[in-house]
Symmetry: C2
Subunit: 160 residues, 2 copies
C-alpha cells in the first residue's frame, strides 16, 4: 500500500525571491530597522514556512550562518517592532509568527485564535477566527485574551 501526500508550499523561484526580498527590505525599513543579513534571512524563514516557528526551528535553518544570540536578539527586536508576535502553547514552548499589518510597534492586535496540530505539530494563526469576548466575574477586568486550540489540522485530516 502507498499513500501519496501532496501539499502546496510556497516554492521560491527567481522572480518571487526578488519580490520577497524587496518586501522584506521594505518591511524592515518601515519598522525603522537597519537591513542586515540575519534579519533578512530570519524574516525569509517566516514568509516561506508560513507557520509559527520556535527559536529552535530558526536556529536549525540559519544557525550555521548566525549566532544563537543574534537569533534571540533579532526575534526580540521583531516582537518589539510589531513584526512578529509570540504564541503561548500548552507545553510552554515559545512560538513566533508573523503579524498582520494591523500590528504596530509595541501594540499587537493579535486577537485571533492559534491552532496547534497534534499530528504534524504545525502552528497556525487562524486569522479569521476571532477570540470571543467572555463574561468576567465581578471586578475582574480583562485586558488581553489568549486562546490556543489543539487538535488535527485540515491537511492532516485530509490525508488520513
Amino acid at each position: 500500500m502507498f499513500r501519496v501526500l501532496l501539499r502546496m508550499e510556497f516554492l521560491p523561484t527567481t522572480p518571487n525571491n526578488k519580490n520577497l526580498e524587496q518586501k522584506i527590505i521594505d518591511l524592515l525599513k518601515r519598522s525603522s530597522l537597519s537591513v542586515t543579513d540575519s534579519r533578512k534571512k530570519i524574516l525569509e524563514s517566516f514568509f516561506q514556512k508560513n507557520s509559527a516557528l520556535a527559536h529552535a526551528d530558526i536556529e536549525l535553518q540559519v544557525g550555521d550562518e548566525f549566532d544563537r544570540v543574534t537569533i534571540y536578539r533579532t526575534l526580540q527586536t521583531f516582537v518589539d517592532k510589531g513584526i512578529i508576535h509570540t504564541i503561548p502553547t500548552p507545553d510552554n514552548a515559545v512560538l513566533y509568527a508573523l503579524c498582520k499589518d494591523s500590528c504596530s510597534a509595541g501594540h499587537h492586535h493579535d486577537n485571533h485564535v492559534h491552532f496547534i496540530c497534534d499530528n504534524c505539530n504545525k502552528t497556525y494563526c487562524l486569522e479569521h477566527v476571532v477570540v470571543p469576548t467572555i463574561a468576567m466575574p465581578n471586578n475582574f477586568i480583562a485586558s488581553q485574551i489568549d486562546m490556543v486550540v489543539s487538535g488535527v489540522c485540515d491537511f492532516c485530516n485530509a490525508s488520513s
Copy 2:
C-alpha cells in the same frame, strides 16, 4: 495619606492544620501515591496559597527542605495523577494549580478560563467561566482549548 489593604487568607491554626493534613493524606491515598513529606508539604503550599504556583514559587517555599529534582518529580507525579494541572501563560512560565474533583488520573477536565493579574501577578482558575466553543475552519478538528485572560483581578481593582 494611608491606604489600608485587607485580604482574607487561609490562616492555618492548629485544628485547621489537622484537617488540612488529613485532607492531604486522603488525597494522596485516593491517588494511590505513598504519603511522603515532600508530597505533603508541596500539596500544603497549593492549598494554603489558593492560587496557581510556578516551580520557582514552590522551590522558594520548600527548597531548603527538599531537592530541586524532587520538586520537579513531585509536580510531574501530581499532574499525572490528576491532582494539579498546568496552565500555559503568555510569557511562557509554567504554572500549576489544584484540579477540582472532576479531574481524574491522566484525564483533566480543565475547561475553565485562567486569569493572570498584571498587577499582583496571581493566577486564578475561574472555575465558573467555561471556555466557549468556537467555530473551526473547514477540516480543522479541535480537541483541546486553552484560554488565558490577563488584566486586573478583583482584589487589585477594589484596592486602587
